[in-house]
């Protein structure tokens, strides 16, 4: 059983959804990102999604791109990201990494899987790697006992939903909207439909991401999904803060609000 799976099972037993919070590794600095992720965990985030920054994040909106640019300008490297995984995993919270495919390919697919597992990471979310091109990753994740999360989208056909879910382990990531990352004022109408379509083809837990920014929205998504994934809104707490301490305070407050939200599913 995957460690992420355990987190989903526990939450399900409590009648609530898992809160997944994303943060780029090395943003605003390596130490700053460790502090941020630890603050998120202590304020109630269940699972940390650690994004390895990439120079060309085509699926991300301006907030994540800006944070990634800051991290890269600060010199963060894939090896640093793995050190951060280790530091955050030490809190006991499951840490799943997320990145575009090229950084993994350059690190070496098997070497990355080996080092991620050694650092205590649970698995990898791949926004631009679909199962169709994933043979090497399927083998490496099997060899090193890692989860793998592929994305599905409202535009995915039933056949692709089934095929993609069959290749996932841990959970499936449903992108709630057709679009890039970024908090939105309304959560999507497409997401509940997508989740119910997924339920027809898989028993894996389903995480819903893209567009969630408030406790109320988290409660809405928790009404139909097993996991609520929040990125841009959390990152913005640090981007918009006048100083690092204020950033962490805002981050804790929003994490707590979201954690409260997932405990009150709106069905």
């Amino acid at each position: 059983m995957s460690r992420i799976g355990v987190a989903f099972d526990k939450a399900r037993a409590d009648g609530r959804a898992v809160l997944v919070g994303c943060m780029p590794a090395g943003f605003p600095t390596v130490e700053g990102s460790i502090a941020a992720m630890k603050a998120m965990v202590s304020a109630g985030v269940d699972v940390i999604e650690l994004e390895i920054p990439y120079s060309d994040p085509v699926m991300d909106g301006p907030v994540i791109q800006k944070a990634s640019d800051i991290a890269l300008a600060g010199g963060v490297r894939t090896a640093d990201a793995l050190r951060i995984v280790e530091a955050v995993a030490a809190t006991g919270a499951p840490v799943v990494t997320m990145t575009y495919w090229n950084p993994i390919e350059q690190y070496g697919v098997d070497a990355f899987a080996r080092d991620l597992a050694a650092a205590g990471g649970t698995g990898l979310i791949t926004p631009d790697l679909i199962p169709d091109e994933a043979d090497e990753w399927l083998a490496a994740s099997d060899a090193h006992g890692l989860d793998r999360t592929f994305l599905v989208s409202p535009s995915s056909t039933d056949a692709r939903l089934r095929m993609t879910a069959e290749h996932c382990r841990g959970f499936v990531y449903a992108t709630a909207i057709m679009g890039v990352t970024g908090a939105r004022s309304q959560t999507s109408e497409a997401a509940p439909i997508l989740v119910s379509r997924l339920r027809e083809v898989t028993d894996l837990p389903v995480g819903v991401g893209l567009g969630v920014g408030t406790g109320a929205q988290a409660g809405t998504v928790a009404g139909y999904a097993d996991g609520v994934i929040v990125g841009s809104a959390l990152i913005r707490c640090l981007l918009d803060a006048p100083d690092p301490a204020a950033g962490l305070t805002a981050l804790r407050a929003l994490s707590a609000e979201l954690a409260e939200g997932v405990r009150h599913p709106q069905r």
């Binding site: 640019d69 490297r77 090229n102 390919e105 631009d128 679909i130 091109e133 994305l151 995915s156 890039v180």
Partner: protein
């Protein structure tokens, strides 16, 4: 001779878009349905006589092809090779790009979409897209790096006159790479009603194949024109390589002609041994960028390195995957040409032939000049080099004027 003559059966890519280890689809799942729809529409269209007839008619009556094949005698005398120029600069909108755009605009119509988006570097693809959008009554948004909107101001004006919205992109290197990122983001968000009209033979499957097939008429025409005017095939074919559409366009019909050497000239900027160039094949490594596995300028962590070229249309840190494969298989040769070499060839063509080339195309001219002595020695006679003059230089008059000190920055 038809510019829309289909590519011979059995050629790469495979059904999943792989050219050997290159190509494929490295995209968000959200785009897969649109890529599948495009692939199906494209295959249906290419096997449909009426589509090809419509495309042929547009190329002939609207774009003005076949473009001329011109023996550039005075330029030839200067470089020691018999140079035949494929005059894509004479096409409507001033570059080879119009062929691809007309093909994709027809497909857009067939798919029932009402909006096109495009990325552009030199602006020639943007102008061609804006033109086709006007002709087909489609909404048109063009993403262009902010740096490029400045050095290609004339083309920005042309696009706006044609009714397109030009969006300057301010992220990253503010050049073609970032324009492509923004266009992809737009596409992910608006894929239902929007076709992403990619401007070069790059990106996820089926774009590299589809763009190649829409531009391969360049080589089909040139091959027949060569045979007609010289009685033989050329010794070498030369083209500049940004994403690689004009190069593939002129190469493709010659790929089976083993005696014809194929040369792609990449933007060497200030030198491939510096960190200021855009030579993805000669100076890059295998990786994934913009939806395909190909050669990429990147650091050890897989972060894209910003490219540099005096030519906006070549200022791109990737290349179409078919070129990556042609390089690995040894069928084509890729060499860098520096900014200075390109500008010297630019000036030489202006002064000897009265033709102002695009700075992109000047890289191909400089490349021909570079390989001429070696070819002559090898063949024991003056070589015949077919050069793709991919576009005209009007858009570059400002850049060139500054480079040669003819214009002040303010003028």
């Amino acid at each position: 001779m038809s510019a829309t003559e289909p590519a011979p059966a059995g050629q790469l890519p495979d059904a999943a878009g792989h050219f050997g280890r290159f190509g494929g689809r490295f995209v968000p799942e959200a785009l897969v349905a649109a890529l599948d729809e495009l692939d199906a529409a494209y295959r249906k269209a290419m096997s449909d006589e009426s589509f090809r007839a419509e495309f042929d008619a547009l190329l002939r009556d609207y774009a003005g092809t076949p473009s001329l094949l011109y023996p550039a005698h005075r330029f030839s005398a200067q470089i020691g090779a018999r140079v035949l120029l494929k005059r894509e600069d004479l096409n409507h909108t001033g570059a080879h790009k119009v062929r691809n755009v007309l093909g994709q605009a027809l497909l857009t119509k067939r798919m029932g979409k009402r909006r096109v988006i495009a990325e552009t570097g030199a602006g020639q693809h943007g102008v061609a897209t804006a033109t086709a959008a006007a002709l087909f009554d489609l909404e048109c948004v063009v993403y262009m790096g902010e740096v490029d909107t400045e050095r290609q101001a004339l083309n920005v004006a042309r696009m706006r006159m044609l009714g397109a919205t030009v969006v300057p992109v301010t992220t990253g290197s503010r050049t073609l790479k970032d324009a492509m990122n923004e266009a992809m983001r737009d596409w992910v968000a608006n894929v239902d009603e929007t076709h992403y009209l990619i401007g070069t033979a790059a990106g996820p499957h089926p774009f590299p194949e589809l763009v190649r097939d829409f531009v391969r008429g360049i080589g089909v025409e040139a091959r027949a024109q060569c045979l007609e005017s010289t009685g033989a095939l050329p010794d070498a074919v030369a083209a500049c390589v940004g994403g690689g559409s004009n190069a593939l366009g002129i190469f493709h019909a010659f790929v089976p002609d083993e005696g014809v050497r194929l040369y792609g000239f990449e933007a060497g900027g200030e030198g491939v041994d510096t960190d200021r160039h855009a030579a993805s094949i000669t100076g890059g490594t295998s990786g994934v960028l913009h939806g395909a596995r190909t050669y990429v300028l990147q650091n050890a962590d897989g972060q894209t390195i910003e490219s540099h070229s005096i030519s906006a249309g070549l200022d791109y840190p990737g290349v179409g995957p078919e070129h990556a494969w042609l390089h690995d298989s040894g069928r084509a040769n890729y060499l860098p040409v520096t900014d200075a070499e390109a500008m010297a060839a630019f000036e030489l063509l202006c002064r000897t032939e009265g033709i102002i080339p695009a700075i992109e195309s000047a890289h191909a001219l400089a490349g021909a000049r570079k390989i001429a002595p070696g070819l002559a020695a090898e063949l024991g006679r003056e070589p015949v080099i077919l050069v793709n003059l991919s576009g005209r230089g009007d858009k570059d008059v400002h850049t060139a004027g500054e480079y040669f000190g003819i214009l002040d920055k303010e003028q």
